[in-house]
């Protein structure tokens, strides 16, 4: 028996969520009195995963230059079987969310996604999942022998727990892939909303796209990703890829700074998984203040430049 963790990577580098799922897998393995095995597919250096408690790392190297749902599902299934894994832990990156349901079917396993805590009990096997756009939690029992757990981003967290691990190569056979990649369009050198610890987001209160310079500068100072509200992307001031909220991208960052966003319920549904929320708005009645941790009632065009200046000084000190 073992706990298998799929440590996802992109272009040979582990994603932040890879460390979170290894930490989570380590915890579940302790609860079950077994070992954690991490699986990487064309991933980074195995020793990075030893740091988070992976005693064994199974490394698959092959010609898959980018994620493929059927291909990755086949690899995870083969390794899970080879390692006699009863529990498979997968992250909530786009790849993880895509492959996990296929793995569940392949292993005839029950699957719980959006899991935010270590199992509250392992017999019965119960995990806490977020649901209803973070307005509720669902304590779910997984009824099958084999289990797939999808760990929500930035919830359990990454915890260092160094072990002296070992790595081994695994030769996985690939099925017919079905879907083939034609091209990938990725902004380089930009922090993505999915990976960011800090997200700086702005709304219609900024009056026009020409005023986004200060938002980008604030994001630069904080090493943050930039985001926007739905009206802003609908108006074409910012690309759709920056739209966060219910129908846009979900945000689960440590810090979310909302500038000139009133806080429509659909927006809040998409961002309230963030740990600390700061609102800057000149309308004290903006509903976002009720959902925020910290707020400044004031004109963004005065507050944000001051914040940039003071943060620069703070970062240097």
């Amino acid at each position: 028996m073992s706990v298998l963790v799929f440590a996802d990577s992109s272009e040979g580098k582990f994603k932040k969520t890879a460390y979170e799922v290894v930490s989570y897998g380590k915890k579940v393995a302790e609860q079950l009195g077994t070992n954690v095995v991490a699986l990487t597919v064309n991933g980074g250096d195995a020793s990075e995963l030893y740091t988070y408690g992976a005693e064994k790392v199974v490394e698959v190297k092959n010609d898959l230059t980018s994620f493929n749902a059927k291909g990755y599902a086949a690899i995870i299934k083969q390794v899970a079987e080879a390692q006699s894994a009863n529990v498979v832990v997968i992250d909530s990156s786009v790849d993880g969310l895509t492959v996990a349901p296929l793995v569940a079917v392949g292993l005839e396993a029950g699957y719980a996604s959006n899991v935010v805590e270590a199992p509250s009990s392992t017999n019965p096997f119960v995990v806490k999942r977020k649901a209803f756009s973070n307005k509720g939690f669902n304590n779910t029992e997984i009824l099958t022998d084999k289990k797939v757990i999808g760990v929500a981003k930035n919830s359990y967290g990454a915890h260092e727990n160094p072990v002296s691990g070992t790595s081994e190569a695994f030769d996985a056979s690939l099925p017919e892939l079905g879907v083939s990649s034609v091209s990938i369009d990725k902004a380089t050198g930009k922090v993505t909303i999915a990976d960011a610890d800090v997200v700086v987001s702005a709304g219609r209160g900024l009056k026009g796209p020409e005023n986004w310079g200060m938002v980008e500068e604030l994001a630069d100072v904080l090493g943050a990703a930039t985001a926007c509200s739905k009206p802003v992307s609908d108006l074409g001031w910012r690309p759709h890829s920056e739209h966060v909220g219910q129908t846009g991208k979900p945000v689960a960052s440590n810090l979310y700074i909302a500038i000139g966003i009133s806080g429509a319920i659909q927006h809040l549904a998409g961002v309230n998984a963030s740990k600390v929320k700061v609102v800057i708005n000149n309308d004290p009645e903006a509903p976002f203040f009720k959902a925020a941790d910290y707020g400044i009632v004031g004109d963004a065009f005065e507050v944000v430049p001051q914040l940039i200046e003071k943060l620069k000084a703070f970062k240097q000190s």
């Binding site: 790849d95 296929l102 996604s113 999915a194 910290y294």
Partner: protein, 246 residues
């Protein structure tokens, strides 16, 4: 082309979320149910294939009779017919297995769904369905074209987009971008009248069993009041020393 669009019947976004029966059931009291917004994007794309390429469009839901108004709304938007699998959708695997039966029996080439439902946010059913059927699967789809039996799609990936190609049969989990919000259709009176006459077939479930079960629900801990500050020095101080966020 035969298209099946999977429709979830979910609480409207603005609904208050409460639980009853000792926190074991979602409280539907006063809750208005709608077509899952993610599914609506996919349904709207299906309408385009119907109108431009002569595709037939069937909508399906796994649920009790209370979900029929939601299926009727999908018919009013323009779907040709509807199927309701008469089962309580307790778990993603159960729903996926029931849908797989519908796909096999109906011989659909293209199955469209939303990438998640707005209630449980599980993001499970489309991938499971594809895997059960051994169909190709594209998740988080923000662009879909079909010519004959080949499809070209754009899907969202972390930090960008990927263009992929696939042959049919195919399961696609769509989201905003597969059509834009302005393309969504509000049913008109004619559509609503016609929807009443369109077939809505109720089929009994197979004996699929669930792989998970909900033991209880919880509401998030109440949030403390916002701390308002009047200068950025205080804000930086609080974010650093209290929230430990910078």
């Amino acid at each position: 082309m035969k298209i099946l669009v999977c429709i979830s019947h979910v609480p409207d976004t603005t609904s208050k979320i409460n639980f009853t029966d000792n926190d074991t059931k979602f409280d539907t009291n006063g809750v208005q149910f709608v077509i899952n917004p993610y599914d609506e994007f996919s349904l709207t794309r299906a309408m385009w294939f119907k109108e431009k390429q002569g595709a037939s469009v069937t909508v399906v839901n796994v649920g009790g009779a209370e979900t029929e108004p939601t299926l009727r709304k999908a018919l009013a938007i323009g779907a040709d017919d509807a199927i309701r699998v008469n089962a309580v959708p307790t778990d993603g695997m159960l729903v996926a297995k029931e849908l797989a039966e519908v796909v096999k029996n109906g011989g659909y080439d293209l199955v469209l769904a939303g990438k998640e439902s707005a209630d449980y946010n599980g993001q499970m059913v489309p991938g499971m369905l594809a895997s059960l059927l051994d169909f190709n699967f594209v998740n988080g789809c923000v662009g879909l074209e079909v010519e004959g039996t080949s499809a070209t799609l754009e899907r969202e990936i972390d930090g960008g987009e990927e263009k992929v190609s696939s042959t049919l049969p195919l399961v696609v989990a769509g989201q905003k971008g597969i059509v834009e919000e302005k393309d969504l259709r509000i049913p008109n009176m004619r559509g609503i009248m016609m929807a009443r006459k369109k077939p809505l077939n109720v089929v009994e479930p197979t004996s699929s069993s669930a792989a998970t079960s909900t033991q209880s629900f919880e509401k998030p801990a109440p949030k403390g009041d916002v701390k308002l500050v009047d200068n950025v020095d205080d804000l930086i101080n609080l974010l650093h020393n209290e929230a430990k966020a910078i």
